[in-house]
Symmetry: C2
Subunit: 718 residues, 2 copies
Amino acid sequence: MHELDPIFSPKSVAVVGASATPGKVGHDIFANILRGGYAGTLYPVNPRAKSILCVRAYPTIKEVPDPVDLAMIILPPQPALITVEEAAEAGVKGIVIVSAGFREVGGEGLELEKRIVSICRQAGIRVVGPNCLGVINPLPDIRLNASFSARMPAPGKISFISQSGALCTAVLDFAADRNFGFSKFISIGNKADVDELDLLLYLHEDPNTEVIMIYLEELRRGPAFIETARAITSGYRRTPILVIKSGRTTAGARAAASHTGSLAGSEAVYDAIFKQTGIIRAESIHELFDFADAFAYKEESALGKLKRKMPRGNRVAIVTNAGGPGIVATDMTVSSGLKLARFSSETVETLQRHLPETANLQNPVDVIGDAAYDRYENALSAVIKDEDVDGALVILTPQSMTNALDTAEAIVRVARGSNKPILCCFMGIIDVSPGVKYLQEHGYPVFNFPEDAAKAFGALYEYARWTNRRFLPLFDFKHDTQGAETIIQSSLAAGKTHLGELDGTGLLECYGFRVLPAKLAKNEIEAVDAAKEMAFPVVMKIVSPQILHKSDAGGVLVGLKDEQDVRGAFNQIVDQAAEFNPDAAIDGVLVQKMALPGTETILGMNRYPIFGPLLMFGLGGIYVEVFADVVFRLAPIDRNEARRMMHEIKGTRLFEGFRGKPKSDLEAIEKALVRLSDMVMNHPEISELDINPLMIHEQGKGATVADCRIILKSVEKA
Amino acid sequence: MHELDPIFSPKSVAVVGASATPGKVGHDIFANILRGGYAGTLYPVNPRAKSILCVRAYPTIKEVPDPVDLAMIILPPQPALITVEEAAEAGVKGIVIVSAGFREVGGEGLELEKRIVSICRQAGIRVVGPNCLGVINPLPDIRLNASFSARMPAPGKISFISQSGALCTAVLDFAADRNFGFSKFISIGNKADVDELDLLLYLHEDPNTEVIMIYLEELRRGPAFIETARAITSGYRRTPILVIKSGRTTAGARAAASHTGSLAGSEAVYDAIFKQTGIIRAESIHELFDFADAFAYKEESALGKLKRKMPRGNRVAIVTNAGGPGIVATDMTVSSGLKLARFSSETVETLQRHLPETANLQNPVDVIGDAAYDRYENALSAVIKDEDVDGALVILTPQSMTNALDTAEAIVRVARGSNKPILCCFMGIIDVSPGVKYLQEHGYPVFNFPEDAAKAFGALYEYARWTNRRFLPLFDFKHDTQGAETIIQSSLAAGKTHLGELDGTGLLECYGFRVLPAKLAKNEIEAVDAAKEMAFPVVMKIVSPQILHKSDAGGVLVGLKDEQDVRGAFNQIVDQAAEFNPDAAIDGVLVQKMALPGTETILGMNRYPIFGPLLMFGLGGIYVEVFADVVFRLAPIDRNEARRMMHEIKGTRLFEGFRGKPKSDLEAIEKALVRLSDMVMNHPEISELDINPLMIHEQGKGATVADCRIILKSVEKA
């Protein structure tokens, strides 16, 4: 038995704080369990009542004469603590605390919450809440509605975890209207003990859960969440996770002195987490339901196993009885990352045999307004068999000749014979309802609008790409970890926390980054000597602790080809810096070998509480800020993740031989990202980092760090 | 009487092709009018029936004994033509042709359609269709359901024009489910005569229409549509227009030799039209309904006039009884172009007096789960009075203590006393329905989800910005139109259709563009002489009719500072061009004065059938293609439109003194756009044009054309 079973499938429930007064929470929850048809035994606990709703009551949980699996506690914090102690003594196996007044009010509330958790940990009891709506298990052998909500949802295959109690009631109400069934439904409140991670693991093992939906406000465990969620969405017996995440975040970046910090909005961490774990993010509650519908759809295979039909590619066939909605679906298909399939000539011939002359035989197939079920059946059979089709959207609009039920039956017949997903859009509510009902009863996803169906197909495809992702051979790097450690510790010992390109490059070299020879020049003569030593052309840059964005201060000159250039540049840079900030202490001018030509990119890192180092990659130059064409991942990443980052930015086109330029060294980008990940994982003292720009040269010629900024911070080592 | 009145409000209707056989279109439409409770007189016309559904039938329309306002024709094309002739003779005032088989099949069908239109034009009859679903007017004194759809919608204030018949039925079905009322409902089919433009004008004058929704696939009248729609959405008695546009387009660009052509996707023209006319575009049918709900909301003012409440700004207050949905609304508010209002200290004090201690007194205001109506009433009154609040979203989730009806009544009380818009989101379907119903009956927009309410508020704000847009004093340019005409005609006469920077700049100068001195050099010596004449530094570029994208061929070198540079550049450019394309005929190398530093932008124009010249503006350089940060407008534009274009691109930040760079000459951008508009309007021979880059210098220093490409085409002048 799983330790959460007593909470979701208790044989007996005690409601401590049950009340006979309608409108009180202690009444409502008790009444909901009682009237919901709970299949176990229910005990009200209330020292001042003989019975509640005619069920015999007990003064304390200790006096309940039988073993209690689950205690629902609806009491103020102090009495709740006493009840928890008594419950532990009485051998209760699970606890849900509904009442508020704990962590969320701080002070004593927080203390009480901590004591409750420590008592339960010692007694081996798991606790849900406090400050939550409760737990629902609608499956027929349990029928537990231990919640605020008077409505018990229908049983189904989707489980829902909510961090907002209030949202739960609205979701249940909406679900009732859509005939939406649930397997488990839980409001996690303050997450004092049981949190979304525990529940993901539990629901993943639950044979009655096919899809998990989460309404998330914040995570309190970062790396563990990533590891677990990734395993759940990826394994052989995998469970898709759909999330709607709202904006409140406790994960503010620790600092924003770096580009990476200012570009990573508060949502960057969560977006990275969802991408790294294969979690599908819905943009609205409506979309969350639509996606859940599509993902819950499984069908018995020839071997008697339930299988989810996933698209192998993104080529969609559309079959419609109306041009307009077909066009809407086409538009949305394209904007959801899909494309219209191109049919084989064989398919087109088959369509021609079965459809009237005026029908459109190309995708989207228009079976014409007067189509009865047979045209749908023939057309859908033909297109779904086409090898260049990965799935279908079937659109039906109510017309004089339309019989929604007949058509629904025909669709199910075709779907049974295919392992490709078929999503339906029956437009309208009332006229098409017999068909919609038939599809729903047979587990087929059906939507009101073509755009919703297309988006849901897009989500299926996104998940299919995740589960079918490639695994590249990893890089085998030998880093000079000890050398890096020495540089870091000696810098910190010297009170030097900001490393620029003069001293930061040494650190990067330990991790295999190619850097440029550079030398600080205090005067014209030193500058010329340095330039001669490294050979022209060179770049020169101001060095001043007060000037962070050097080009703002006119402090960067490039392409200096001879002595004369270098001399002029030295004076110009120093003058402009002094003009820019008369108080700036000028250490000198850095003379650096000019990099080979290449595409400017930016690599960066910023650390977040809970989540650790967040890596950034994007196009460099001034456009980085205007277009913010950057992606994020939490470290550690491997080569696979690095490649996905590279392909995710819009500017990825620039690497592929754009406008006559040579193709970039793509492997160098992957390597740089993995090196960076390794470095920031090994050295927690690296607090923030920008490599800007990292010049990506043409294929085979690698990449060069042209500038960097590293911020160090002492760390107490464990 | 308006010429479309006989179609929407006929006193008598003849259904030609009426049938007694259920399932036939001629039966269904006749039955729908009859059973819909039509307030006028109905005549079936069928030569083979004594009566239809027990109504006396007539063999032809000529034999109907009374005057007929509207003839509904459900006949194949040939008999339809004969009926139209007879109808014209019989003095019929309006015609709707439902049947298909006309323009959309081409050939004879198209011919018949043209003849029908010409007969009707001569007789002064307006025709709707053919190939349409029909017309509905649900208002109580008409109650005409002359359509395929068995369902007559409720009367309301929204009119709907659909270019897709099939979509109509689904929309009616969906509307029935949402208690959505219509004023007029029309399917325009082939638009042989009456099109969306006629209907916009008609519905704008219609006292029963407050909002117009259009489902659009394509427009056939460009400039007229823009002028009319802009007047309708902007006037004192304005009507908002909401559109959903699907992808099919007949407006493919005429050519794509230019950047502008390749960047302007098929939707660029429509996006431009909607922006230039203040039409609000919805992304889905769901959204279209949500927006219509928000726009239809009007309330009687103190003077007894119905007034739409529009936000004066984008500062929204949120009042909610649940944290989660409040956060969702906040997120969506921001992504819909709105921002959370900051309350005055007075408002916060008032909230503090009325709300419990645990309530959040800052925006979003959380009145806590156990709030009854009074907390909503007090909180909403307080925030809506705040001068820094432009409107409110009220969110209610069903909780134990919640009374949706009481809360709805409270909201209406507050709303009545304020001229700021208040949108409601009552989450859930069943629990909250008494409140939802109350709000709907009182005309208040109410949504299921906070994100929908926030998006609808965003649409209201977008429209408010349109109606309150500023009008700048216009530029008074004196163009050398005659000079430009001479250049164009002599080029065409010489068979020269592609003008580059050598000959194209002359044309641009006639319209006041500042260009750079340039000279074609055939050899090194000519190049050096030219450079000396215009003073260093110079730029050099390959000139070859076969090389369009010069930098792809290594054909551009900049910053050449002395004789030696120029000599070397000449040879390098010629060599690289020969290598790039050995067959290219090399005319020489252009030597051009180097422009002052500035921000690179691109201006362009491409002509579209129906719509005319489409202007483009965006950031230049190679990033233009990667990020496509460009905007479009149809010419002519004035200074106001030019300024909006400038502010619409993301890169607009670069003009405003970004990263220590000086502020750009914004007026120069506005001027350049208006000059371009004037030029392409005056000279239809200019078929395509790119000015790339147009260098925008710092404030006060104007802009310079650094390169251009103009394609000319002979035009038959009227």
